[in-house]
């Protein structure tokens, strides 16, 4: 099992470093880009969500990645701030007409569509999101 973890500053500008980190993980874990497309999306969406909605959080967000057989396990730790349980967000109605569609809110929706399992925990002002994603064959 290959596990990597790293802290990233709470800013959108950390995304470039995050994608570099993901590339390294994919290389070490023998995950080709096609098989792990969803990995980049899940990580970006959850990270940017934490940046946007937990402004009271501590400076860094800890991202841990692990390959367990044919399953990716992604863990996001966000320290400080109030809990925001993404597993309990309202569903986005993707069948609405263009005039009714609102800009925003799609990030969590996409994570829920792509991930196989999402868990949320909150203890001592620490939010922990664990996502599991089976690798595409």
């Amino acid at each position: 099992m290959e596990k990597m973890e790293k802290r990233f500053k709470r800013t959108i500008h950390a995304l470039e470093d995050i994608f570099t980190f993901l590339s390294e993980f994919k290389k070490r874990s023998n995950i080709d880009n096609s098989a792990a497309y969803g990995l980049d999306l899940i990580v970006e969406e959850l990270f940017t969500n934490m940046v946007k909605y937990n402004s009271e959080g501590s400076l860094d967000i800890l991202i841990s990645l692990e390959r367990a057989g044919n399953t990716l396990v992604l863990v996001f730790n966000d320290y400080g701030g109030e809990p925001f349980d993404i597993t309990k967000t309202d569903e986005v109605n993707t069948k609405q007409r263009l005039e009714e569609r609102k800009v925003g809110g799609l990030g969590i929706h996409l994570v829920k569509r792509i991930a196989d399992q999402i868990d949320f925990e909150y203890h001592d002002r620490r939010s922990k999101i664990t996502v599991m994603k089976k690798l595409e064959e």
Binding site: L15, F19, T48, N93, T94, L106, G107, H109, L110, I114
Partner: protein
Amino acid sequence: MLTIEINEKGNIVLSGRFDASQVEKAKHVFTNIKTSSVVDFKNLEYISSAGLGVLLFTQKSLNESGESLTLINMNKHIQDVFRYAGFDMIFRIE
């Protein structure tokens, strides 16, 4: 990184990755689109909800005057993202 060019046909050609860090750059281009246009995804390898938001905002604005975006040459992964978002119902995709 995202690059945006206008080709000889007047199509908007996206290249690279359209993630949240590229939204401001994209807005500079997309907010200036006032008539129906083609957006070519042939060199775009990745898009996230941030990119979808820019496209949606543009499509909604254009729609008010009867104009729209047509999206072409998406790779399979981006097509999947559009389908998950229900964007295949509100954009013409070729």
